[in-house]
């Protein structure tokens, strides 16, 4: 508190990066602006700017590419992380992190060795997403690695309402790995929800869940159906569990912290409460 030493430039860059990385969904620009003014040195902000890529890809930020919403993700990162590919529209684009804009849009090359599997999963997934996600944006990536198919599904659905001081986002990443010929596949899922409410305060829900399991896949169409069924079951169970927490914690944990009213069911009589002490004092003399 007293005699604070000046921290190094490296530390200032680290702090700036940490703050930006922690920006709630929908508030990236506001946090970057705050950090910029607190840093007071744009040179240092430039040094911290690799965090923009980390943040956007971590958040599955969506951007309009030729009018279609596409995701910015690590699996979709190409050309040494300078450009991004969207597997649905098969477009590759450059992304401006601060403006949230796509440019230099071109057609991409397709890896046809995995396309049957990838397309089957994308198609089965869309039907599921339309069922439960009001504003979903997703991407299904696939690579072939020595007779093994590696699929990654990224999906997000957000609702931003800054004029009413709240923002929320659901984000899931599913990795499925299996032999091309079919058989047992490994499934790993990471689901995350963040909600921020900030009218006269700062309240946040931070919740995430990991899933590890295996499923059977024989052919692209049947396998895709199995994958999507698995995802649907896991995501629904998680959302139900979150809602159960709300219900239980509101009825028990919260109530146990502070009562609505004293046990008398009436507000405190402060005159009586205070005179009790004064009386006790006199009695003790």
């Amino acid at each position: 508190m007293s005699g604070l030493d000046e921290i190094s430039e490296e530390e200032r860059v680290r702090i700036a990066s940490d703050f930006i990385m922690a920006a709630p969904p929908g508030e990236f620009k506001e946090v970057v602006n705050d950090v910029r003014i607190l840093l007071g040195d744009d040179r240092l902000l430039t040094r911290a700017s690799s965090v923009f890529y980390d943040y956007a890809t971590e958040q599955f930020t969506s951007v309009k590419v030729d009018g279609v919403d596409c995701l910015v993700t690590k699996p979709g990162s190409v050309d040494n992380a300078k450009r991004f590919v969207d597997p649905t529209t098969n477009k590759v684009f450059t992304y401006n992190f601060l403006k949230n804009e796509a440019s230099e849009v071109e057609d991409a090359e397709r890896d046809m060795s995995v396309e049957t599997w990838r397309e089957a999963v994308q198609s089965a997934l869309k039907a599921y997403l339309d069922e439960v996600y009001p504003a979903h944006v997703s991407a299904v990536y696939a690579t072939m690695n020595k007779d093994n198919v590696d699929l990654t599904i990224c999906l997000e659905d957000h609702k931003y309402n800054p004029s009413n001081f709240w923002n929320g986002k659901w984000k899931s990443k599913w990795d499925v790995s299996f032999p091309t010929a079919g058989g047992f596949g490994k499934v790993t899922g990471a689901m995350r929800v963040q909600v921020h409410y900030y009218e006269d305060g700062n309240v946040q829900l931070l919740t995430s869940k990991q899933v590890d399991d295996s499923i059977q896949l024989s052919s692209p169409v049947e396998g895709a159906a199995n994958i999507v069924e698995f995802i649907k079951a896991a995501e629904t169970a998680y959302q139900l569990a979150i809602n159960e927490n709300y219900s239980t914690m509101s009825n028990t944990t919260f109530k146990a912290l502070r009562r609505n009213l004293p046990i008398t069911h009436a507000l405190i009589d402060w005159h009586k409460l205070h005179s009790f002490h004064v009386g006790k004092d006199i009695m003790n003399r």
Binding site: I7, D34, W170, D200, V203, L206, T207, T253, L267, H274
Partner: protein, 281 residues
């Protein structure tokens, strides 16, 4: 530049996850050391507990009982670690502070049935005085997987007027509520943060005891109000927002239901209008 920097710092603290308040505040002070005192005074942190070795009683730590790196106990009125010329209230205010601690201890017991409370009062330059009333309660309501924590920070300013027969009270209250759940079905689950409210009032005063009554009533009303709002925001609003990013009900099925409901409502309205026309006047 400093005014703008303080605004940005406070804006940042309203956006970054409150679950990381301590780390964020520490980093912020490192980044802008000139704002240290302003930040410590304006950013609420979860209350820490210390033990008064003389009386073996717990007390709460905040910026209002801090002087340098030491904290003053409301029981012994001494600083820990001890310091020379630590800031203490005048005799009149110290006596009032002791009364307040006793009164709010009873208040705490009636509403919180446990927990810790501490009151700190100090003289103001304008001839009035001010105080901080703090309460902390933690609990798991018997289920180790569900943890909750409540921090109340009420700061009140008192200005006597009308030859001491009246006083003006200004209250700024912040309640921090932290909920944590470790059931495997919901992975890691953290719902936390704070809400703040302000109030002002004028009330009659006969002696110093009147301030206890007036402040007590004001804080009780304020805390009850904030408790209701916490319930609505935490368990209502944030849950609603979450359920709007993903629906538990088939959206297509719901859209169809909405359409059917609307058709039925329209049909009912049309029939009611037809009936009222047909009724002889």
């Amino acid at each position: 530049m400093n005014g703008q920097q303080l605004d940005c710092a406070l804006d940042l603290m309203r956006r970054l996850p409150p679950q990381e308040i301590e780390k964020n505040l520490s980093d912020l002070i490192d980044l802008v050391p000139d704002l240290c005192e302003d930040l410590l005074a304006s950013v609420d942190q979860p209350l820490k507990i210390a033990k008064d070795r003389k009386s073996n009683k717990d007390y709460l730590l905040c910026d209002y009982n801090r002087d340098g790196d030491s904290y003053r106990s409301p029981w012994s009125n001494e600083y820990d670690p001890p310091i020379e010329d630590g800031s203490i209230p005048s005799d009149k205010i110290r006596k009032f502070e002791q009364e307040a601690n006793f009164a709010f201890d009873l208040y705490r017991e009636q509403y919180f049935e446990g927990g810790i409370s501490s009151c700190y009062f100090w003289d103001q330059d304008n001839g009035g005085f001010a105080g901080a009333i703090l309460i902390k309660k933690t609990g798991d309501s018997g289920n180790k997987m569900f943890k909750g924590s409540w921090d109340s920070i009420h700061v009140v300013e008192i200005q006597e007027k009308g030859a001491g027969r009246n006083a003006h009270y200004k209250l700024i209250s912040t309640v921090m509520l932290w909920l944590h759940n470790s059931r495997p079905e919901s992975g890691s689950f953290d719902l936390g943060g704070s809400l703040s409210r302000q109030a002002e009032k004028d009330a009659p005063v006969t002696d110093m005891s009147s301030h206890i009554v007036n402040i007590g009533q004001m804080i009780e009303k304020m805390e009850n109000n904030i408790r209701g709002t916490l319930d609505t925001i935490y368990f209502g609003k944030t849950a609603t927002i979450m359920n709007e990013t993903r629906s538990l009900v088939d959206l297509k099925g719901r859209a169809k239901m909405d359409q059917i409901n609307k058709q039925m409502a329209d049909a009912l309205t049309a029939r009611q209008q037809a009936q009222s026309k047909a009724t002889p006047q």
